[in-house]
């Protein structure tokens, strides 16, 4: 068993009496594709928001790459190498695709304020570096022909891809994908599937994804955690999960396990 990149220990978050995430523990190993599944309202997105620092956990701790990041600012956590996409795409709609990706180069660009004002050689160097890297990533996601287009004018599937390109620009060690296949047609989903595996293989990035498309989840993830009512009810390989009566029950309802089988 290799070293864990993300250790979530007994994390709990409540919203006004409602326990959204209940004492969840998860250890995610490096270079894995890890999926978090569960029915609607199970607390999956809240879990992501806790990990990325948008919510502060009520209890528990989160360790990222050996550093305790519990309660840290999201920007700091992102700077440490954790990138994410959002369930309902959150691109900077009025910026071009290229600029969207360049925004995420912020922490990797070493231009100072004075450099930017005086256009020092460093400014030009860093700016070129950022641009080149951004173009590379766009090309990687097959979006380079769209570089100058406004993000909001891109078709849906490309927006999803752009969001991933933007996340990759952070040079993350860990990439969190929140329902990346939502709203995609089967071809697009298949394409996405290949890309996700590619990102892991080419760039060596650990990937955690929330997804409802079971076909996608089952075919690419190496481990799957199942959340229900904010609790982790199970973790295992796709086969284990697929055949576990608790999962079928969580999805299809009590008693479903016998009915369908």
């Amino acid at each position: 068993m290799s070293e864990a990149i993300l250790e979530v220990n007994e994390v709990t978050k409540t919203f006004g009496g409602l326990v959204a995430v209940n004492a969840v523990t998860m250890h995610i190993e490096k270079r894995r594709i890890f999926a978090v599944i569960g029915p609607n309202g199970a607390g999956k997105t809240t879990f992501f928001n806790l990990v990325t620092g948008i919510y502060k956990p009520d209890r528990g701790s989160i360790v990222f790459d050996g550093v305790d990041i519990t309660g840290r600012d999201p920007a700091v956590i992102a700077g440490m190498g954790m990138a994410r996409t959002f369930q309902n795409i959150r691109l900077f709609g009025s910026m071009s695709a290229l600029e969207n990706v360049m925004v995420a180069r912020h922490v990797h660009t070493r231009t100072s304020y004075a450099d930017a004002l005086l256009h020092t050689p460093r400014y030009h160097r860093e700016e070129r570096k950022a641009r080149d890297r951004a173009m590379e990533l766009l090309a990687y996601m097959q979006l380079d022909h769209r570089a100058q287009e406004l993000a909001k004018n891109l078709p849906y599937g490309e927006q999803r891809r752009l969001e991933i390109a933007r996340a990759l620009a952070l040079e993350p060690k860990l990439l969190l994908l929140d329902e990346p296949a939502a709203g995609m047609n089967p071809q697009e989903t298949e394409d996405l599937q290949r890309r996700i595996v590619g990102i892991r293989d080419d760039l060596g990035i650990t990937i955690v994804l929330i997804e409802h498309d079971m076909k996608l989840v089952m075919s690419i993830s190496e481990r799957i955690a199942v959340l229900d009512y904010g609790k982790k009810i199970l973790e295992g390989t796709p086969e284990e999960v697929q055949n576990d009566p608790r999962v079928i029950e969580a999805y299809l309802g009590p008693g479903a396990a016998e009915g369908v089988q």
């Binding site: 948008i54 920007a75 700077g79 691109l91 900077f92 910026m95 925004v103 180069r105 912020h106 620009a169």
Partner: protein, 425 residues
């Protein structure tokens, strides 16, 4: 016909011709508001339309550096218009960073203007002797340039001080808190005459030193143009403002195209996503706030030197709103928009509304009688209350409402904002 207007050569010719004709007309009739506006129109057209760059520079240079100064000798009010426009344009560009780029609604922007103005006013007059030893004040006028930098720093500092609490708040709360803090700065300026007299309170500070311009006069002497000091100062300030606008515009463009500009826009669009991309919220917002403030501070120092008199009454809410109107009118986030907005509002406020009032008065003086048979009206009875110059608030208010309803992206929209404003869920 339409095709003709898309033809670059034809357009170039048209603009060059109109610049020459209107420019000449202005030189012949320096007091004609219409000639002035048409000349500016030619300038604007040269900028906006698709013509070769060298022609743009030529037309712009000719109008700004030759025609207006020349006409200004015959009617120095043009300089006043130019300088005021310039001061406001620089401030609008500063506010543009805050409101347009970073999306932070600042209603207390005049506070930074005040900080800048007082920075030079206090040390460029005898005022500083009131609370400092040595009795070396006023400092010689040459220190003005140094103090413009000091004013930049002071205003930026004030921006950080005001911003650190205020910028933690959500958008609409930020607006009202900056309004309050802006008002606080004014009240402080008005009350810091006791227990220690720093600002001289409501009495204001006068006279204030101006930068020395003997070299400037000498320079023109060489070309055979002789000016008195009183004539030379408006021209000097006009050129100074042009230079500053140039610098400020350059700074604006450079920031816009740096990682800071991108970070500001990202924050404006989606704070959560921006943070998830590693952009720290408060420092980035503070940077925008301080940058905007520093522009205003520099112009404050210039204002003090130009006006010779500084009092708290110049830094009220209406000033802040006026600058906001300029940014909105031109187009939030748009650099040429901010300059155009500043020019439009300043000319409207300083000249057009007053010219309209004067016409009204002329009508009254002429005792013109309108006779439509049933309806008879003697213009001598025209009420004073109708003078448009009195209703600047109404004009600004109307501009704000109508722009937001019909063209929220402004006259010269910034590419990015069109997308955002026209969004429909």
């Amino acid at each position: 016909m339409k095709k003709l207007f898309q033809n670059s050569a034809f357009l170039s010719l048209l603009i060059a011709a109109s610049a020459v004709i209107f420019g000449y007309w202005l030189l012949e009739n320096p007091r004609s508001t219409l000639a002035f506006l048409l000349t500016l129109g030619a300038l604007l057209a040269a900028f906006m339309l698709d013509i070769p760059k060298w022609l743009k520079v030529l037309v712009g240079g000719a109008i700004l550096l030759l025609v207006i100064p020349w006409a200004g000798f015959k009617n120095s009010f043009l300089f006043e218009l130019g300088v005021q426009t310039g001061i406001y344009a620089a401030m609008a560009l500063g506010l543009n960073v805050v409101v347009g780029l970073a999306g932070l609604l600042d209603l207390g922007y005049a506070a930074f203007f005040a900080v800048g103005a007082y920075t030079w006013a206090i040390f460029g007059s005898k005022q500083a002797n009131q609370f400092m030893p040595w009795h070396i004040f006023p400092l010689p006028g040459a220190y003005f340039y140094l103090f413009m930098l000091v004013a930049v720093v002071m205003a930026a500092l004030t921006g950080v001080i005001i911003g650190s609490p205020a910028l933690r708040l959500r958008g609409d709360y930020l607006a009202i808190v900056t309004l309050g803090l802006g008002e606080m700065v004014r009240v402080l300026a008005n009350n810091l005459d006791h227990p220690i007299n720093i600002t001289n309170g409501p009495q204001g500070i006068t006279p204030i030193q101006r930068p020395p311009i003997d070299w400037f006069i000498a320079l023109f002497d060489k070309f055979g143009i002789h000016m008195s000091r009183a004539e030379a100062y408006p021209l000097f300030f006009y050129f100074l403002v042009l230079v500053i606008i140039g610098i400020v515009t350059l700074v604006n463009i450079r920031l816009d195209r740096s990682r800071f500009g991108r970070a500001w826009i990202a924050i404006r669009e989606d704070e959560v996503a921006a943070r998830a991309m590693g952009i720290p919220l408060l420092p980035t917002k503070l940077l925008a706030f301080a940058t905007g403030a520093s522009f205003s501070g520099a112009m404050g120092a210039l204002f003090a030197a130009k006006q010779l008199y500084v009092s708290p009454e110049s830094f009220t809410l209406i000033q802040s709103i006026m600058i906001l109107v300029m940014v909105i009118l031109g187009g939030m986030g748009s650099i040429p928009g901010a300059i155009l907005g500043a020019a439009t509002v300043t000319i409207l406020n300083v000249d057009l509304l007053k010219t309209a009032s004067d016409y009204l008065n002329d009508l009254r003086n002429a005792g013109f009688v309108l006779d439509l048979g049933i309806f008879k009206y003697n213009f001598a009875n025209l009420p004073n209350q109708l003078e448009p110059a009195k209703y600047e608030r109404m004009v600004f208010g109307l501009i704000m409402i109508l722009m937001m309803i019909y063209r929220p992206e402004g006259i010269i929209p910034e590419r990015r904002h069109v997308a955002e404003m026209k969004e429909k869920e």
